[in-house]
């Protein structure tokens, strides 16, 4: 979290656009996205439902839906000084990358485990699928180690079926499973939604703990700003398929430059140190239809800062500070977030 010196790039998404072919026409789910993930970094993607977060992450491991189409751009993965272009890989090659280099933990992970085989078989199957010569015993040992890191009773969990574990335990077992092949990047899609507060806290704390011990990067997809505030080093705000703002967590939360980030932060109530509730307000309106995209700032109809310019031309993302990027003509007018202490 703190080591700033010489962070190497690990994953680089260049000008990526993905569309879904639908009966009504092309739905532009991801539009000209640029994003870099460095070694040992936690990046959070935030935004409303349907803004393209999940599509973007699925394309990193090339698990897009059948009707998804890559329009332009590429995703580069750097390993031992070599560049691998994930978007151009064959199915056979990408299978090696998946889980071994980049693991993806799906949303609703509660239902990921196969109900008719024991948890330990999931660990064994996963490793065997990658064929790297581990013996059954070595796999079990490693699983036990990981499970106890997640503060689970390893023997019990390995010999259980999914229905015998609580939601929080399943989630933790799944996190352990995602680390079994020492991936360099783990993508978590809504890691704590549908979990209770105390379980959620446990998962957050464990993620932080395991993060300190191993070298890997995390991409978190979440609609919950609090999760991003808890874990992320960098936050990227997505709106209508685009990354509209991208910067360090503190920059985004305290001095956002995009009106949408500003609106989101002001729409979330806080429990402690928030006695003046008058400042909270929703963002009026709803996101645009991604099938007919007009050439204008997509957020402009909902934006309090919009000027004439915003309705004429779509802004491109520009640098506004040290590793802080924003796609807005009026970013200078967005006020900082008022803090009570």
């Amino acid at each position: 979290m703190m080591t700033k010196a010489m962070k190497k790039e690990l994953l680089k998404i260049n000008d990526l656009s993905i569309a879904y072919n639908t009966p009504r026409g092309k739905l532009h789910a991801v539009r000209n996205v640029n994003l870099t993930v460095h070694e040992n970094e936690v990046v959070a993607l935030i935004g409303e439902s349907g803004c393209g977060k999940t599509t973007l992450c699925l394309s990193i491991v090339q698990l897009d839906e059948d009707n998804a189409q890559l329009l332009n751009g590429e995703i580069n993965y750097y390993k031992d000084g070599e560049v691998k272009i994930l978007t151009q890989m064959s199915e056979r090659d990408i299978k090696i990358i998946r889980w071994q280099e980049i693991a993806l933990m799906f949303q609703a992970s509660q239902s990921v485990f196969n109900p008719v085989i024991k948890i330990k078989e999931h660990f064994i199957d996963t490793v065997k699928a990658h064929d790297n010569g581990y013996s059954r015993k070595a796999i079990i040992d490693k699983s036990k180690n990981l499970l106890s890191k997640m503060q689970l009773d390893a023997d019990r969990v390995l010999n259980s079926y999914a229905h015998e574990l609580s939601g929080g335990m399943k989630q933790r077992a799944l996190i352990a499973l995602s680390f079994i092949l020492d991936p360099k990047i783990v993508i978590f899609d809504e890691p704590t939604t549908a979990l209770d507060v105390l379980t959620q806290r446990k998962i957050i704390d464990l993620l932080r703990l395991i993060k300190e011990e191993y070298d890997f990067s995390i991409i978190i997809i979440t609609h919950d700003l609090a999760i991003a505030a808890e874990l992320a080093d960098k936050v990227a705000t997505m709106y209508a398929g685009q990354i509209v703002e991208n910067g360090k967590t503190e920059d985004i939360f305290y001095s956002p430059s995009h009106p949408y980030s500003y609106g989101l932060i002001n729409a979330v109530p806080k429990l402690i140190s928030d006695k003046c509730e008058g400042d909270l307000s929703s963002i009026p309106g709803s996101p645009p239809d991604l099938i007919d995209i007009e050439n204008k700032c997509q957020f402009s109809p909902r934006c309090n800062f919009a000027t004439e310019e915003c309705f004429r031309d779509e802004p491109t993302i520009i640098k506004v500070g040290e590793s802080h990027f924003v796609a807005c003509y009026n970013y200078k007018n967005v006020p900082p977030i008022r803090r009570d202490n």
């Binding site: 507060v197 105390l198 989101l264 307000s281």
Partner: protein, 325 residues
């Protein structure tokens, strides 16, 4: 007319019979005043939705008493029940599943009006439906009347649910996780609309949520009750409960909630509980049900006696350790 709109005493609810018997509500005592916002917070499975359903008379209760406007709900006559149903409305958790997909928004709002003979002629109904849709912010009204639920966004659907609940001018509304399925950017506006309606129509709210942050925002002027395994463990006026929490479970919840502010959330004081999951309802520990996770649990009292919810009007706690000191 009774001072309290709702009075609950020693309310119990069990599901199942014989060996499969499970007590999900285990002796609740509280009252809700007219115009009051009463929030109930707790983890999944603590019984908060069951309680909401009992208050809306969708579910019956097994033991104890539930009085609405001074009348025991169990003993309501058919005629009284009709006016009870008019007075008490429920907004369900999932706006995607709680609206009839083959009815237009107009029918959804108009049906209760017709059923209860509030409007008779089409013109009157049309006027009333428009007025209600306007009230919940679904404007221009003409755009919505002929639509079906699937043509609306989640937030709009939830507004239709609210509109439907308002048609009969209720005095009490049970709101079950009304914003948990709604995008963050819209939650505040839904909560604000509910608050405005309360001011205008003197409605009391029973607001169910798992999110203490939402409870704190919505019930700023009201009260919050924290529930654990079918019992209220702490009950108090909102600010008092949040800033002066006494029960270890409440303290743990407050400390555990992540805040949307990187500095505050990382420096927040945590309250550590003992390891372990929530016990199953089938085998609730004897004594205080929280003793398996409570770091303060003392021999023998916490293991022998169930603590009572006691304290002042503003703040009550069910904990031996707190109440003995």
């Amino acid at each position: 007319m009774a001072a309290n709109l709702i009075e609950i005493s020693n309310l119990h609810k069990k599901f199942g019979q014989g060996k499969k018997e499970v007590w999900v509500l285990r002796g609740l005592n509280f009252s809700i005043k007219r115009k009051e916002t009463f929030c109930i917070v707790g983890e999944s499975g603590c019984g908060k939705t069951t309680l909401g359903r009992i208050l809306a008379n969708i579910e019956s209760y097994s033991k104890g008493s539930y009085r609405f406007s001074g009348q025991e709900v169990k003993d309501l006559t058919k005629k009284d029940l009709r006016s009870f149903k008019k007075d008490v409305q429920m907004i369900h958790q999932d706006p995607f599943a709680s609206l009839n997909p083959v009815q237009t928004i107009f029918s959804i709002i108009a049906n209760p009006l017709k059923r209860h003979n509030i409007t008779k002629k089409y013109n009157e109904t049309y006027k009333e439906v428009s007025r209600i849709l306007d009230l919940v912010g679904l404007t221009p009204v003409e755009d919505f009347l002929d639509k079906y639920p699937h043509q609306l966004s989640g937030g709009q659907k939830q507004r239709v649910s609210i509109a439907r609940a308002l048609t009969l001018d209720p005095s009490f509304m049970v709101v079950d996780e009304a914003v948990s399925m709604i995008d963050t950017s819209l939650r505040i506006s839904i909560l604000n609309s509910l608050k405005e309606l309360q001011m205008k129509y003197n409605v009391s709210f029973f607001f169910i949520t798992h999110d203490l942050t939402i409870a704190n925002y919505f019930a700023k002027e009201g009260r919050i009750a924290v529930m654990y395994l079918g019992k209220i463990v702490e009950l108090g006026e909102t600010d008092e409960l949040i800033y002066n929490a006494k029960h270890p479970y409440t303290k743990a919840l407050i400390g555990a909630i992540p805040e949307a502010d990187p500095i505050i959330t990382k420096s927040k004081e945590r309250f550590q509980l003992k390891e372990g999951n929530i016990p199953e309802l089938k085998n609730i520990p004897s004594g205080c049900a929280f003793n398996t996770r409570c770091p303060w649990a003392e021999e023998p009292v916490c293991y022998d006696k169930d603590p009572l919810l006691i304290g002042s009007e503003e703040h009550q706690v069910a904990c031996h350790v707190v109440n003995n000191n």
